[in-house]
């Protein structure tokens, strides 16, 4: 058994507290936005979950590179864990976005590049899971998914590129500042603070989850090894 590290316990508590604090900031500190009203509060979580999603996919790609270089099971577990978690976060981002879209654009979903590319990124990593499922040999599975994760991360920048090159109603904040795009809004400083704090909170939360998931992966590997021994002694 791997003992639970002290730092992880600390991280558990920290991430829990930060998420709570972020929620507190969102609902009690940040002002209600004038044009959109209460729904705008979704914004903080929408962006934070989307960010964490992206982060995980990039972690997976990096883990992929390390796996191919080092060939240690640990990197495969890391990559898989990152994708699994991010897939859920990213889906959450899409769902939150579409909850927001209903009042903002008067529709749950519209086919515009950012949303479509977001859906496709989700599909890329759903395909990643399918690929893993199709391979029995763990070594080969690790290799293939590492490669696929690397390619997936090459495709992601398009989601950022797309909103810059294509006409879109999905707003661009990062990089082009302030009120780019229709329906964007100015952030005053309590909003900014809340925004960046929730980004930080979700990032810590992500690291915490990832750590747990990696530990779980390792335990599973351990259990498998125990099974090997009982199994082959039985033969």
């Amino acid at each position: 058994m791997i003992k639970k590290p002290r730092l992880l316990s600390v991280l558990d508590v920290l991430s829990g507290m930060m998420i709570l604090a972020a929620a507190g900031l969102v609902f009690f500190y940040a002002p209600v936005e004038q044009m959109m009203g209460l729904v705008q509060k979704v914004f903080y979580f929408h962006v934070a979950t989307a960010w964490v999603g992206m982060l995980g996919f990039i972690v997976a790609a990096v883990a992929g590179i390390f796996y191919l270089a080092k060939r240690t099971e640990q990197w495969d577990i890391t990559g898989f864990a990152a994708v699994e978690i991010s897939l859920i976060f990213f889906l959450t981002a899409i769902i939150l976005g579409s909850i927001w879209a209903k009042p903002a654009w008067n529709t749950w979903w519209t086919w515009e590049p950012r949303l479509t590319t977001a859906a496709i990124v989700e599909l890329i990593y759903a395909a990643y899971l399918l690929l893993r499922q199709g391979v029995d040999d763990p070594e080969r599975r690790a290799r293939f998914s590492a490669i696929y994760a690397i390619f997936g991360s090459i495709s992601i920048p398009l989601t950022f590129v797309s909103i810059r090159f294509l006409r879109t109603i999905h707003p661009v904040v990062i990089g082009t500042a302030e009120t780019a795009g229709k329906g964007g809004f100015n952030m005053d400083s309590p909003m900014k603070l809340t925004f960046f704090f929730s980004l930080a909170a979700f990032t810590v939360f992500f690291v915490d989850l990832l750590w747990h998931r990696i530990r779980l992966g390792k335990l599973q590997a351990e259990v498998e090894k125990l099974r090997i021994d009982t199994y082959s002694n039985g033969m």
Binding site: A127, L130, Q133, V135, R143, I147, F151, S155, L158
Partner: protein, 224 residues
Amino acid sequence: MKSYLGAIRAIIWKDLTAEWRTRESLTSMLVFALLVVLIFNFALELDIQAQESLSAGVLWTTFVFAGTIGLNRSMALEKDRGCLDGLLLAPVDRSVIYFGKVIGNLIFMLLVEIIVLPVYSFLYGVPVFQPGFFLVVLLGSIGYVAVGTLLATMVVQVRTRDILLPILLFPLTLPVIIAAVKASQGFLQMIPFDEFSSWLNILIVYDLIFTAVAFMVFDYVVEE
């Protein structure tokens, strides 16, 4: 170097000879391409006006589906009687196998495009005969085949190989496809070059990145 190119040539020669025997891949790709055009037509009841702006999209969807068929078949042949092992046992660099297969697959895909384009142009009166457009077709196909060959090699070693290729390949190559569609649209609709030249750049950049990365990781795909 000479034997390096010789080995690549041997692989291409082998693929072309086998195809010449049966002409299965080419005819299937062609028939399927025409079918996709027809299905679009039926499902969407395209008329000439609508065509104008949709042509690029329809054409690339057609190429992409036909391409998957070709890629799938090409790698299935390698796996059939264990031939991929045969290739891997040969004392040549893995990149020989990769480039040999990429070039073979590209030839098939281009052949299909060369036939589909005039037909489409004839049916819908779209002005396809422009060097710029041909360049886009070539660049798009290269990017698609570069990744496609890699993934097909991977998929063929997987239990679910019958179905996995399009699922893995389509979303991954979307950057190339979107860029190709946009650039094609530019040429087909006679939009001023400046307005869509950035798409052409994206296309070239993605081609380079995809080919380079695919080439670098191919080793990892074929080792066991």
